[in-house]
Amino acid sequence: MILLRILLIASSLFLLLHVIRSVTKARVRIDDIIFWVLFAIVLIVLAIVPQVASFFAEVLHFQAPINLVYLVVIFLLILRVFNMSIKVSQLEMKMQQMVQDEAVKSCMGREDAAGEDAQASEEGGKE
């Protein structure tokens, strides 16, 4: 259990460091990494105060506290993946919208230009 806790703390700290470094290098928006910071903090808390895991494991009739830790981690990650799906969908929708708007606008622009050209040559012909 001690080794596991040390491992958990070390890896969480590494995660936290890595996450913060990616902001300092301007690779990610702060809004998108708040989750990872919270995630790392939860893992560190679970590692430093294993009583939390033990308590809930007992209340919920888990065989071992570690199972609860695994479950929490898996659950949070699944939640994250789901939210990412939503985000990707929204991004695709926004992109589709933008491409369509742009194309429709440029099509209308060409038609307007063509109409004016035709009118101009018509007027020119009359003179």
Binding site: V23, T24, R29, I30, I34, Q97, D101
Partner: protein
Amino acid sequence: MKLLVIIPAYNESGSIERVVNCIRDEYPQYDYVVVNDGSVDDTAGICRRNGYRLIDLKTNLGLAGAFQAGVKYAYENDYDCAIQIDGDGQHDPAYIEGMAALMQETDADIVIGSRFVEKKKPGGLRMFGSNIIATAIRLTTGKLLRDPTSGMRLLNRRMIREFAVNMNYGPEPDTVSYLMRNGAKVEEYQVEMRERTAGKSYLSAWRSVEYMVRIVISIVLIQPFRKRSTT
């Protein structure tokens, strides 16, 4: 001094006309630009019918993206300073003159329209969040910011450039704390703010809890490690 008023507006059809007309008619010395943040109501239509200067974002980018669009406009058009005035009418443009004067006087990078320079902060739940953020900024920068959540911020030319081109420069208290830590001069100027008269705030009830968590984590755990690259 060439000054641009940036008016971010998301679903502000109920108040945008009053806000912009006020600036256009009573303060013609300032230029303004409305940034419509992909509103689903008639905000963009109202602006077009009235002939307002409008940056019309086709999709919703959020306040940070909308504000940055306005700052980019200021940067491209070589403005000396730019101020955010919200589309809901809570910021009174009458204070712009005093804020700009303070900026010139003190050579500040940012002047914040603050509710609590001379007036005492009221207690209660609404100011609870403001107090937590102020404490977080105090802890990480050692400096006092009385009204960190005020959106009424005047940026000078250096700041316009920095806000226009960089990532993670949202118009939020965490950006201000980061800039304060990294040598930007921030001043506060006493203003009164009105209660919003129409429309919904960017921050609804649950959202404001999320907002707090985001801002506090950012100020305490992220911003202290950020280095300011541009000069």
